[in-house]
Symmetry: C2
Amino acid sequence: MSGRKGLSKNTVVDAAVALVEAEGSSALSLSRVARELGVEPPSLYNHVARLDTLRREVALRAFEDLGSTLGRAAMGRAGPEALRAIAADFRNYVRQHPGLYEISTVARPDDAAFQAAARSALEPVMAVLRIYDLDEDDAIHAARALRSALHGFVSLELAGGFGFDVEIDASFSWLVDHLAGMIEQPVARR
Amino acid sequence: MSGRKGLSKNTVVDAAVALVEAEGSSALSLSRVARELGVEPPSLYNHVARLDTLRREVALRAFEDLGSTLGRAAMGRAGPEALRAIAADFRNYVRQHPGLYEISTVARPDDAAFQAAARSALEPVMAVLRIYDLDEDDAIHAARALRSALHGFVSLELAGGFGFDVEIDASFSWLVDHLAGMIEQPVARR
DNA sequence: CATCAGAACTAATGGCATTAGGTTAGGGGA
DNA sequence: TCCCCTAACCTAATGCCATTAGTTCTGATG
């Protein structure tokens, strides 16, 4: 009655990614993925350990995806121009893949590999900073500030936290321009 | 066999808040709250419409709580000093109530009352900005930038996104100081 | 004291994750 | 070519959860 379906970890993750893209991160369940693949839910355990590891796999895909997007944006640019290009592409990515971004932001405190993947997705952002020739501490602080501001902005936007005003594009430009200025300011006043 | 337990919407929300504080936002379930209150799960439907509305109530509590915390921090201060105090208390609040903060950040796109509550919690932050006497557009942009940076920072910190370095306090100070500088810079270079 | 709203109950449904254990297909070795 | 054994799939079962329907009983109100 069954017949091999030829699934693999990759096929399963593919289906999960597609589901998240189409219906958001909360739609991801083993039952749902199984249904999509024409298989009974327990069969998936041959390919993923449990639901949470599938979520993790999906998040890792998101990091890869985001990382290569940002890498492309950085190519051939430097300084504030590169920063603006990367920031814009980051925001666009999140708006085009809200489910993937959301699932990649769930807290995974002691998962070092996951953290590393997250960091590597943002490597292009960090690369831009290196050009500014900051001292080591400032570089770390600036990197965190940049990540914070960009992540915070897109998260709030995604959550509808800015209301439905039209000005949001302008606010983002303002933010990015001021971030660029901020980085060049080695010492804060006071 | 039963006896009135004298529950009310408030008691239920109280129990939910306590649960979230103790075990995080993912521990919140009607079953769990019912158990805590010595009641069967369906009884809760006399006081809350469904699980999601309970989550919403808990989030609203978090906003009130955060708002009054920030209000206290702002009292008697102005300018960069007020900003630093508010930012510090904001971060402390989130670190002391991670579950509450987390549950208050789930997206509720078309819930206007919820958005309003969120905004009003951040009213003290906005008040600080008014002192800087920015023109209207700049004020909006600066407010959003401030919210983004602070929210982004604490979210990433909560998610373990900064690794376990000790430097995080310094990074936060750096961020806040530079934000203060950024606000005073009415026009971005370039 | 009688009534009635509503607070709590039990019973039931259906979705979900997950485990245990059985069956069979199909690739690798003889 | 045939066999065999691994692993991919299955069914059955457990236990958690949210939610609805319908029932009971209590305590405040007249």
